[in-house]
């Protein structure tokens, strides 16, 4: 199974609402990253949180990491239609320098 698994698979909200996506993983990590992918495009790096950090902010993004539960969450505040995209968490795998991506959460923000 995937090292990083996002939940929910899909999320539909109104513009202005907050969106929360969760990621669970199985093995110990050095860091966890979140990426965004607009439809039919490549992935864009959003934020990286290290295993010794619990929370990190970047603009309207807030990421938390709970290593005891092997989980992370991505919160997008005051969402906009332009936030419509798929969001992936990615972890460093236990076997060297691979980055392992989850299947993603599809976010749809209605204007």
């Amino acid at each position: 199974s995937q090292q990083g698994e996002e939940d929910p698979q899909a999320l539909s909200i109104q513009e202005g609402e907050n969106a929360t996506m969760n990621c669970s993983y199985k093995t110990s990590i050095n860091n966890l990253q979140w990426y965004r992918q607009n439809s039919g495009r490549g992935l864009v790096h959003l934020i990286l949180i290290r295993s010794n950090e619990r929370e990190k902010h970047s603009g309207r993004l807030r990421v938390t990491l709970d290593t005891s539960k092997k989980s992370s969450s991505l919160l997008i505040t005051a969402s906009r239609a332009a936030d419509t995209a798929s969001y992936f968490c990615a972890t460093d795998g236990s076997g060297g320098f691979k980055t392992i991506f989850g299947a993603g959460t599809r976010l749809f923000v209605k204007a």
Binding site: Q2, G42, L43, L48, T99
Partner: protein, 114 residues
């Protein structure tokens, strides 16, 4: 800004054809990666390279080969394309061989094999 480019956005090939997908990065990154992305499966690593002429198999290398003759260029080769290789192919690069280092992605090539 880091720029990763891929030779084609869309490609249609026939079964049995040899297919070349090219990726170029302009940031002097040591590491380059090829993934395929299929609905519900996320990104799966095909091959990666940590230096010129060096390559390592990823999770799904069967049916693919790669070439890295120059630091900025990483090519994915489908020796004999098959319909189950219809997919979105994403190239990425990163600067250091550090666990989980940030990767920079190209726009992707959507390949259809008929």
């Amino acid at each position: 800004d880091v720029k990763v480019t891929q030779s084609s956005r869309y490609l249609v090939k026939r079964t049995g054809e040899k297919v070349f997908l090219e990726c170029v990065q302009d940031m002097d990154h040591e590491n380059m990666f090829w993934y395929r992305q299929d609905p519900g499966l996320g990104l799966r690593l095909i091959y990666f390279s940590y230096d010129v002429k060096m390559k390592e198999k990823g999770d799904i290398p069967e049916g693919y080969s790669v070439s890295r003759e120059k630091k900025e260029r990483f090519s994915l080769i489908l020796e004999s394309a098959s319909t189950n290789q219809t997919s979105m192919y994403l190239c990425a690069s990163s600067s250091r061989l550090h666990r989980g280092d940030t990767q920079y992605f190209g726009p992707g090539t959507r390949l259809t094999v008929l």
